[in-house]
Each structure stands twice: as structure tokens, then as C-alpha cells.
């Protein structure tokens, strides 16, 4: 609680031209919160060094524990209005009040009423806010690397080089993973023109001789219990204290059934690149049918024939999470069902592996050409060698013994003596061609291990696997372009081919990136602060368990699986898994969850500061906008810079995420006589833009419950609407407000609770 507040009202940037700032100051001095506000001042340019100095002097002289800055948006001048331990709340008079004000000529003092509401809201909001004291627990700084292949080995070394201890867990008896079967690698370094050694032996030796790395082979992670900084990992029955995890379990070759359309399994001399590689590594390339060295080998990159059943237009999935089987275990009558993990492999993985397939085909064509009399063909639809690997492709083009052509493969048939006849159309060699080859090599799909099994074996209430991997066809990937390591499980960072199909040089880089995130997570946990996207946030949700009814909504809805539950269903928080979005706070019907500096009472009290005229015809309607602070709120600010304006009857309040919106805020607003509530949040669906993954989607789902309660009260449910707003929709958002005002407020008239 901040109880000695300084309220400062800026007149700059045209605020004082439209608004009576002195009158506003008088209003605060004599208003209902005067006892909270020993200092109330105006300043013509509050952000000037002189303005800042004045605030600092008042903090010192008056012992203020909070400052309400009524000036511009919190998005700007953040560095000026920062006063150490003294809490600050920003009242956005400039962008979202004065600059965007559009008058209603029939009414009086609308701008004054708006500014007064905002200032009162700002005072009460700050008054109810406390400085969070982070919960600090002693953390393990050991990083567990899952998977001892090329990526995992690199990750282990990177972590060790940064000075942290590592446990490297490999399921096979030996380290090395898929690279152990590799004869050579395609180019990994400048000049990107020649085959290279994988360097695996050196890598394994470096790992084995590193004091900081403990290697566990023939080992699997049976269970990961706890939370970042305090995990207990059960590995082959042994309990290990772990801080964070790098997931580098790599890939498996795709199921060969998808290759059947081009004769795999039917013709002996049709093999996969994976099989071909092993031959090259172990004694040379021989035809399976007669063990002779082939004189002509055709590599097929066109995957069209394998893709007949693929329909990308079908939406991935992401239905609301269903109850776990164990929740239905009533009275112990039924046995708990075993968790079933749906396999996510499909023919799509062949298409997704196109870059690796192309590089491998070019590499293996070079193996073929180690016999100067042998000939290699490479048939592609698009030669997928983006970036500097173009140079490697050029080398192949310059080799007269490598024939490369665009082609659509129509069929592969067996000819005489085990040879194969490849029929193709639309080639650079002619419209319809037939090529005879001793062997045909089909691509190997990179299928992430996580497509087949949960792998992480989280001992979490929400289950053992990463949620929503359907979106990425089983890859343990991020949905964010900007933040490739952010998933729905804090403390686990994926790298290498389990995350995306990628060549070894990028996997090396990826290993270092995941290593950084793992170390950073442990250090953040150790300091009691949040990781991305609210990095450094010291607040965390606090539960008042006395009133908890064990409804389980919070434990089900947390996008990050931060809440476990005891046998009764009481939530068991894990602060280091938490990202501080407040989705649990929004979910709770009993309002038992809140943050020191962001809670139910604080927002509800701020909403209640809005003065709603008893008579809508005289004073106009009132609408509350709850806006996502990451996207919708900046979009509103930008609308101001673009010269837009909107209804003088709306009041905007930023929220951490729409997921944090509790139904009680809507009820508070409605019971005050507010005529409508607009919820402005991020896009949801498969390509969600919500930085807390599920927040805006959950809010939308909860809206149905809100609608029901409103119906019961006799209030039209349409008075509460959610809109999806991207940050660049600054030109559209004023129109959305306009629509809401006409469709809802004008159509339904005043809230029936008005005046009560």
C-alpha cells in the first residue's frame, strides 16, 4: 500500500491548452482521496530536469511512498519518471485523454470528467499497490542436457565454458547420436564448398575430459519433478538436483511407410539417405541386391508423391485442454488411466526436412563421385539450399558427373538386373523423361523425438509433455519468431533438430543459445525474478488458500503449467515456473489470487472510480476498456500520434494480459452502471500473438461464463465484447471503439443497473 502520494499534473504537450490543469489539481486537493495525497502540483513541463527535481525534492521532504504522474503514456519518459524505491503510477493524460478526445457538443465538461476519472483511478490504483518482495530460494545451478548427440555435446561444452556444472544424459551406450553414423558432413564453415569431417571424436573427447560435465550414458530421464532452480530429475532411478534443462534429444528417421509411393520396401535398390550414409561410413556403397558398387545413383528430392494425404489447410488442433484422466478418478472406483501421447509424425516431415535432404543429397552425390566413373543424379522440385550453401550447390553443378534437374517424379519401377527406371515430368531435360539408375536414394525425414513421446516426463499437473506440439508437428519449437526459445514450459530450452530441422552448424549455434537461456533461467530463479517476457519482475502470484474451493480452474488454465495440485485439488504454486501473466488471477472465481502490485482489489477499485452519470441522456454512457499492455495499449497510443480520436465516454485501463481479467471486474463495472466493457487483446488461434500464449484465448472462453452471469442479472451479454487487436492496428482500433459504442451502447441503451 502506498499511502503518502504526490500527484503531479503536467500541462505540456498541449495538455493545458485543452484541459484546466489547475482545476484538476484543485479537484484532487479537495477530492475524496485528499488524505492520501499530501502533495498535489501542476507543472508546465513535468518531464524537464526541473520537473523531475521537484518530484525528487518532494519525495525527500514529504517522505512520499508513491508518485502519480499525470502526463504522457507510460511507454515514454520511463527513464525520467523513475524514483528508486518510490512506487510510480502513470496517468496517460496526453495520448489517451487530451490528444484523442473527441467532444460531444451536446454535453458539457466531458474532457474534465474524463481527466478526473483517470486521475482518481491512478491514485487508487497506486494506493492499493505494494512493492513486491521476491521469494528467493536456494537454487541448483546444474544444467541437465538431454541427449548426447552433436547438439547436446555442444550444449554441454557451452554451459561448462560459461562456468556451470552439467549433467549430460544420453539414452544410448555411447555419445554421438546420429553423427556417429555419418561418413562426412556437408560444409559447415567458410568457404562452404567442400565436405568436412564431423569432428565428432574431438567433441566427445572434449566432453569426456571436462571436469564440469558428468556424463550418464544408457540413461533416460524418467521424471522431472519440481520447478526451475529446484528440479529433481529421476535418471535411471537416481535423483539429481537440477536447475534447468536443455532438450537436445534430436530426431529419428521418418517412418519408411511414407516412402512406399516411390518403391521403398518394394524394390531392393531403393534406399534412404540414412541407409546410404551408413553404407558410406561402413565399408562403402553397395547395391543391396548384389553388393556391387553402383555406377549410377539417383537422389530424389521431389516429395510430391509422398504428400498426397497432406492437407495444410486443416487447423492444427488446440482444443480446450481436457481434464486429465486422473481427475475423473471418483471415489477410487476406476483405475487411473495411463497418459496416452498422440504420435505427431506425418508425411509433412518429409517436406519440412527439405533443406537437410537437399544438402545430404548433394553430399552423397559427392560420395558417389569418389568413384570417378560413377554418375549421380539429383532430382528436385526446388533445390533447397538457402544462404551460403548455394556455394556447395555450385560445386555440384560444376561436376560433370553430377546431373541435377528440376523434376516431378511420376513413378519408379524396377528394370533388368535390379536397376531402376525413374519416370519424371517437367524436367530441364525434357517434358517427360525416363532415367535408368543402379540405385535410388529417397530422402530421410527428420522427425523430432518429441513427435513420438513426451520425452520431458514432467511431473506436472498438466501432464508429462510440452503442450500444443501439434502446432509444430511435434517439434519442441516456439511459436514466436522473435523469441525462438520461449515455450510453455519455463526452464526447458530446446536446441537442434528436436526444435527444427537444421544443419549442424546452426545446431551448434542453437546449442549455445539454449545454453544461455538455461543459465539465465537458473540465475533469475535464484534472484526470485521472472524470465521472459516480464524479465526481472519481482512480483509473483500470492494465494489466499483459506477461501480456495479447489475448483482447479487456475491449475488447468495456467499457460505454463506453473500450478500443481494436492490430492484435494488445492493449487500448489511453483513461482519459478511462473511468467507473471496473471492468468490464474483471472481464472479464480473466489478471487484468492493476486500480486502485490497487480491484484483484484486494485483493479476493481480503480474501475469503481469511474463516475457514471445516473442519466445516460444527460451525462452520456460510460464504457470501460481493458487493454493488453503489450499490444492493444501501445496501439491506442499510436492512434493518438496518428491523430485519431475516440468516444469521450470510454476509460482505458491497461492489463498485464487479457488472461488476467477476472470476471469480478466486469461485474464491478456493471454494478456501477457502466454500459459496456471492451476487452482488447491479442490475436489467438494457431498463430497466436499473445505473449502469454493462451491469455487472450482463455479470456474469450471465459467471456461465455460472464455472458451467462450477465443474462441472469438481466443485462445484455453483448455489453461485454472482446476484440483482437494487433499492435499495428492503430488505424483500426478507433473504429472498433466506435462500433462498440454504436452497436452496443446505442442499441441497448443504458445499463439497467444505472443509478442503483
Amino acid at each position: 500500500m502506498a499511502e503518502k502520494l504526490g500527484v503531479y499534473i503536467c500541462g505540456g504537450c498541449d495538455i493545458a491548452k485543452s484541459l484546466d490543469v489547475e482545476g484538476l489539481a484543485e479537484f484532487v486537493k479537495n477530492g475524496r482521496h485528499q488524505s492520501l495525497c499530501p502533495v498535489v502540483k501542476t507543472n508546465s513541463v513535468l518531464c524537464s530536469p526541473e520537473g523531475k527535481a521537484e518530484i525528487e525534492a518532494d519525495i525527500e521532504a514529504e517522505g512520499l511512498d508513491g508518485v502519480v504522474v499525470c502526463a504522457c503514456s507510460p511507454r515514454v519518459k520511463w527513464d525520467v519518471f523513475e524514483f528508486g524505491a518510490t512506487q510510480v503510477n502513470r496517468v496517460n493524460l496526453r495520448e489517451q485523454c487530451v490528444w484523442t478526445f473527441s467532444d460531444d457538443p451536446d454535453k458539457e465538461n466531458l474532457l474534465d470528467s474524463m481527466a478526473k476519472d483517470y486521475v482518481n483511478m491512478g491514485i487508487v490504483y497506486l494506493n492499493k499497490s505494494s512493492v513486491p518482495e521476491p521469494e528467493v530460494e536456494k537454487c541448483s545451478e546444474t544444467i541437465m542436457v538431454l541427449g548426447g548427440g552433436f547438439t547436446g555435446l555442444n550444449a554441454a561444452l557451452e554451459v561448462a565454458k560459461a562456468g556451470k556444472d552439467v549433467v549430460l544424459v544420453e539414452k544410448e551406450a555411447e555419445l554421438g547420436g546420429k553423427a556417429r553414423d555419418m561418413y562426412k558432413s556437408f560444409p559447415l564453415t567458410y568457404p562452404h564448398t567442400a565436405l568436412q569431417e564431423t569432428g565428432l571424436d574431438k567433441l566427445v573427447a572434449a566432453v569426456n575430459s571436462n571436469d564440469k560435465i558428468t556424463v550418464k550414458t544408457s540413461a533416460t530421464l524418467e521424471k522431472l519433478h519440481g520447478a526451475p532452480g529446484q528440479y529433481t530429475a529421476l535418471v535411471n532411478g537416481e535423483e539429481l538436483s537440477i536447475g534447468a534443462v536443455i532438450l537436445a534429444t534430436g530426431w529419428e528417421p521418418g517412418n519408411s511407410k511414407y516412402l512406399a509411393p516411390l518403391g521403398y520396401g518394394q524394390f531392393k535398390n531403393v534406399v534412404t539417405t540414412s541407409e546410404f550414409e551408413k553404407m558410406a561410413k561402413n565399408g562403402g556403397i553397395k547395391r543391396p541386391s548384389d553388393s556391387k558398387a553402383p555406377k549410377s545413383v539417383a537422389f530424389i528430392l521431389d516429395v510430391e508423391k509422398f504428400m498426397a494425404d497432406v492437407d495444410y489447410s486443416q487447423r492444427a488442433v488446440c482444443e480446450p485442454p481436457e481434464e486429465l484422466p486422473c481427475d475423473e478418478n471418483k471415489d477410487g472406483e476406476e483405475e487411473c488411466e495411463t497418459f496416452v501421447y498422440e504420435d505427431k509424425e506425418s508425411a509433412r516431415h518429409l517436406a519440412y526436412s527439405s533443406e537437410i535432404s537437399s544438402l545430404v543429397a548433394l553430399k552423397q552425390a559427392a560420395y558417389v563421385r569418389e568413384d570417378p566413373e560413377a554418375m549421380a543424379y539429383v532430382f528436385y522440385d526446388h533445390m533447397m539450399v538457402p544462404g551460403v550453401n548455394e556455394r556447395f550447390y555450385k560445386v555440384a553443378q560444376d561436376d560433370p558427373g553430377v546431373m541435377l534437374s528440376k523434376a516431378r517424379i511420376t513413378s519408379i519401377k524396377e528394370g533388368s538386373g535390379g536397376s531402376l527406371v525413374i519416370s519424371a515430368k517437367n524436367t530441364l531435360l525434357g517434358e517427360n523423361v525416363e532415367i535408368l539408375a543402379d540405385m535410388v536414394v529417397l530422402p530421410t525425414a527428420i522427425v523430432p523425438v518429441t513427435a513420438h513421446e513426451p520425452t520431458m516426463n514432467f511431473d506436472y499437473r498438466q501432464g508429462p509433455a510440452f503442450p500444443d506440439l501439434e502446432l509444430f508437428d511435434g517439434f519442441a519449437d516456439s511459436n514466436y519468431i522473435c523469441f525462438p526459445y520461449e515455450t510453455r514450459r519455463t526452464g526447458v530450452y530446446a536446441a537442434g533438430c528436436v526444435r527444427q530441422p537444421m544443419p549442424m552448424n546452426l545446431a551448434q549455434d542453437d546449442a549455445a543459445g539454449a545454453a544461455l537461456k538455461a543459465i539465465q533461467c537458473v540465475v533469475s530463479a535464484d534472484h526470485g525474478v521472472a524470465v521472459h517476457p516480464r524479465s526481472g519482475d519481482r512480483s509473483y502470484p500470492v494465494f489466499n488458500f483459506v477461501r480456495c474451493t479447489q475448483c482447479k480452474r487456475c491449475t488447468e488454465e495456467c499457460p505454463f503449467g506453473a500450478l500443481d495440485a494436492d490430492e484435494k485439488g488445492t493449487p500448489m504454486p511453483n513461482p519459478t515456473r511462473c511468467r507473471r501473466c496473471g492468468t490464474c488471477m483471472g481464472a479464480c472465481p473466489e478471487r484468492v489470487i493476486g500480486f502485490d502490485d497487480y491484484n483484484i482489489d486494485q483493479m476493481g477499485s480503480a474501475i469503481k472510480q469511474v463516475q457514471v452519470p445516473d442519466n445516460m441522456d444527460e451525462g452520456g454512457p460510460r464504457v470501460i476498456i481493458l487493454a493488453c499492455e503489450n499490444d492493444a495499449y501501445p496501439a491506442l497510443d499510436m492512434a493518438a500520434f496518428r491523430g485519431h480520436s475516440w468516444s469521450p465516454y470510454v476509460r482505458v485501463l491497461p492489463v498485464r494480459c487479457l488472461g488476467s481479467v477476472n470476471a469480478i471486474w466486469v461485474a464491478d463495472a456493471m454494478s456501477k452502471g457502466v454500459d459496456g466493457v471492451m476487452l482488447l487483446g491479442c490475436k489467438y488461434g494457431d498463430d497466436y500473438q499473445c505473449h502469454f500464449m493462451k491469455g487472450s484465448e482463455l479470456c474469450n472462453r471465459r467471456k461465455e461464463n460472464i455472458a451467462e452471469s450477465l443474462n441472469r442479472l438481466g443485462v445484455e451479454p453483448e455489453r461485454v465484447e472482446q476484440y483482437e487487436v494487433a499492435i499495428d492496428e492503430y488505424d483500426k482500433v478507433p473504429g472498433m471503439i466506435e462500433d462498440f459504442m454504436t452497436n452496443v451502447v446505442a442499441k441497448f441503451g443504458p445499463n439497467p443497473f444505472k443509478g442503483y
Binding site: 560459461a162 568457404p191 526446388h382 524436367t427 519468431i481 544461455l516 496518428r642
Partner: protein, 415 residues
């Protein structure tokens, strides 16, 4: 004296990422950025592929992280002149060009209202205009005006200065040089679009209705020069037939001896921009290979499932224009071998990315390849990140920046 702070050269996506990831591990970080804003190339993009989400969204999060973290310090309009010393103890000479606007600026815009003279906007690749007092774009960070005194005469400059209510303009500000002492350096200077002038067979940037892919981004941006309308530069007309010329400069030993990684996906994204605005427009993409690696295959498949889009494997040999300023492409179809001329309303050249450092000598003797990509330096304690090292997309750039942060930390840890 050893030092464990980190210098990040370049404030684009790779640089910002590297800086933040290191700072959130507790290291002091300095970003040196030559533009008046942070965000680099992605700030100029309308949307990212494949999600079609706005880059300003991710940048907003990054800037919030910067605002909340006192360990991150940044210098705009600044460049590194010289680096001396070695890992753990570098001395770096930085020159900061005058912005002529100090921290009193509130972004109220009075200076821009007082300015009259307009010149081509560099940020918009000459598709729009700016004044002597300007912000490059709506989301510019830091939110502060810049004055370019070369834009107009002294009288106008004085008028601009007088218009500022906050005494924020200093027309006499001079360049400043200062030293930074750091233990480790991340080099993330990014890329520049390959110059159209060099593509003589593709019109050399002189054909009015032939634009580059980056110009397309500015036209599509809702706060860009056309408020998001994709129209012909010559007459503002809505195009009905649009062609994309892939590999404009890339995969060509006479220009860029590599594939620029992003242009195929960028053009497919531009098809989506066009489809949203012009559902009936006829679009042709001339390509050598459509390079849509990894899971991008899905975006490609959904985009090309479009009866009004044709994909032609073929090389564009020449660009001309007719009397109506309609571009004429001379194309040879690689599969059929047929060569003919096609008329369009608008042509987009998918110009490649060139490392910003191409043709420049880098401080501290960082090794570069023939094209200007950095190919080493880690032995010197300098880590290259993002497109300064390899042509990459944004996701891989973020990955690279994160990785560079760790390597920079490894250089200073335990010193």
C-alpha cells in the same frame, strides 16, 4: 584491468537480442547503433513470415526489456571507429553524430510542423518524404525527434528551433568521440539491401513501377508513406498484374555469390499482402528455386494454392517499360525454353541482402569473406551475430543473437 562488460555493435534484432540476453544474466551492456533508432531492418518490415504478425510487437517487448533493465545502455547515431586491446580489456573509440535534439524532447511534433522542406525518406527507401525534423517511423525508439540540418536552409532551421516549446533543439551540437572499456564484443551490424543501381539488366532502379522488396514493405506498412496502400509509384494506381523477380542480385557471381535466404519467403508473404488488398489481381513469380526451408513449406503450400498466382521457373533477362510506364519483363521459361515479353502494372525485385560491412574495413581486423560476411574473430574475443555472419531469417537471427550473448559472456567469465 579486466572488465566484464559487453559491447554490442549494431542495434538491430540480433544486437538487441544479444544485449538483452546478456544483461538479463547480470552483465553491463552497451549497444552502439548508427541509426537514430533501435530495431534495425525489422523496424522497416510490415509483417513477418510465416505468422504475418507485426515486428513492432516483438520490438515492443524488447524495448520494454531495455526500459526495465538499467544494465543496458545504448547510443544511437553512433559508430565504432577503432578497437584496441584484447579479450577482457578492450578500448573502443565511438563517435556519436549530433541528433540536434536533446532529452528534453517530448515527441510533441511542433518541430516537424514548423518544417517545410521535404526530401526522400531513407527509412522508406525513397517511397516517401521526410522533413528536416523527423522521426523515422511511428514506433521509433527512442521516441525522440532527429534534426538533419542538411535538409533545409538556416532560416528554416531557426524556425524549427523556435517552434520547440521545450528548448530541446541544439543546432550547434557537434559530433562527440568517447571511449568505452569492455571485456567482450558482439558484432551485429546486419545487412543492407543490394543496391538496385547495380542491377542494370533489371532497370537499375530507374523504372518507375519496378520496386524492391523492401520498398514493398514500406508501402504495405499501415503507417508507411501510403498508409498501407500498395500502389504504383508513378501514378498511385492500384496494380492488377504484378510480377516478382526472384534472385535479383542473389545467386549470381557478378553480384552476390550466395542465396539471400529470405527473399522467396518474403515474396510469398508479399503475395499475401496483395491478396488481402486485391483478391483478383494476377500475380506471377519468376524464380530459380523457391526456397522455403523447414516448416515454411506449409506457408508456401497455402500461399501458392491460389488460381491467380503463377509460378514460373525462369530467369528475367531484361526489364523495360512502355509509354504507359508499365514494366515489360523479358523472361525465359527454364522448363519450356520459351522466351517472351510480359507486361505488368507493378514489378517487385526480390533484392538480396548484403552484409552491411561489405566493402568496409572492420576495426580490430575481423576476418571477412569475399562478400563481407564475418568468418571468425572468436579467437580475438569478438563474436559475430545475425546477418553480419550469414544470411538468415529473423527467427534464426534471434537464435544467433542469443548464442552470441553466451559466447560474449564466456569471454569475460572468471576474468
Amino acid at each position: 584491468m579486466s572488465n566484464n562488460s559487453i559491447l554490442v555493435v549494431g542495434g538491430g534484432f540480433a544486437g538487441i537480442t544479444a544485449a538483452l540476453e546478456a544483461a538479463e544474466l547480470g552483465y553491463e551492456v552497451f549497444i552502439v547503433e548508427k541509426n537514430p533508432y533501435l530495431g534495425g531492418r525489422v523496424a522497416q518490415l510490415n509483417q513477418y513470415f510465416p505468422k504475418l504478425c507485426p515486428p513492432s510487437c516483438g520490438l515492443e517487448i524488447q524495448f520494454q526489456r531495455i526500459k526495465k533493465n538499467p544494465k543496458v545502455k545504448y547510443f544511437t547515431l553512433s559508430q565504432v571507429d577503432a578497437v584496441s586491446g584484447g579479450p577482457g580489456n578492450y578500448s573502443v573509440k565511438v563517435t556519436k553524430q549530433p541528433r540536434h535534439v536533446n532529452s528534453r524532447c517530448t515527441c510533441c511534433g511542433e518541430c516537424a510542423k514548423a518544417a517545410r522542406t521535404e526530401v526522400d525518406s531513407e527509412f522508406d527507401f525513397e517511397t516517401g518524404k521526410r522533413k528536416a525534423a523527423y522521426t523515422t517511423h511511428l514506433f521509433a525508439f527512442p521516441a525522440r525527434y532527429t534534426i538533419d540540418p542538411t535538409t533545409c536552409d538556416k532560416i528554416e532551421l531557426e524556425r524549427i528551433k523556435d517552434a520547440c516549446p521545450y528548448d530541446a533543439i541544439d543546432l550547434d551540437e557537434q559530433p562527440k568521440t568517447f571511449d568505452l572499456n569492455v571485456g567482450s564484443i558482439v558484432w551485429a551490424t546486419g545487412w543492407k539491401p543490394y543496391p538496385l543501381e547495380k542491377l542494370t539488366n533489371l532497370g537499375a532502379g530507374k523504372v518507375a513501377n519496378v520496386i524492391s522488396n523492401m520498398q514493398m514493405e514500406r508501402l504495405a506498412s499501415p503507417s508507411g508513406p501510403t498508409n498501407g496502400r500498395i500502389v504504383r509509384p508513378s501514378d498511385g494506381a492500384e496494380p492488377k498484374r504484378i510480377a516478382f523477380v526472384q534472385c535479383a542480385g542473389s545467386r549470381d557471381e557478378n553480384h552476390l555469390n550466395y542465396c539471400s535466404y529470405i527473399c522467396c519467403m518474403a515474396s510469398l508473404k508479399h503475395v499475401r499482402y496483395l491478396r488481402e488488398r486485391y483478391p483478383e489481381a494476377k500475380i506471377v513469380i519468376y524464380y530459380i528455386d523457391l526456397r522455403t526451408p523447414g516448416r515454411y513449406d506449409k506457408f508456401k503450400a497455402l500461399t501458392v494454392d491460389d488460381p491467380n498466382l503463377s509460378l514460373v521457373k525462369g530467369k528475367v533477362a531484361a526489364v523495360a517499360e512502355d509509354a504507359g510506364k508499365n514494366p515489360i519483363l523479358t523472361v525465359e521459361n527454364a522448363v519450356t525454353g520459351i522466351k517472351n515479353d510480359e507486361q505488368f502494372d507493378l514489378v517487385v525485385l526480390a533484392t538480396g541482402m548484403q552484409p552491411s560491412a561489405a566493402g568496409e574495413k572492420l576495426p580490430a581486423g575481423l576476418p571477412v569473406d569475399e562478400e563481407g560476411f564475418i568468418i571468425g574473430g572468436e579467437d580475438k574475443g569478438i563474436v559475430a551475430a545475425g546477418c553480419a555472419k550469414l544470411p538468415l531469417d529473423v527467427m534464426k537471427t534471434a537464435q544467433s543473437g542469443t548464442s552470441a550473448a553466451l559466447k560474449a559472456i564466456q569471454n569475460v567469465v572468471g576474468r
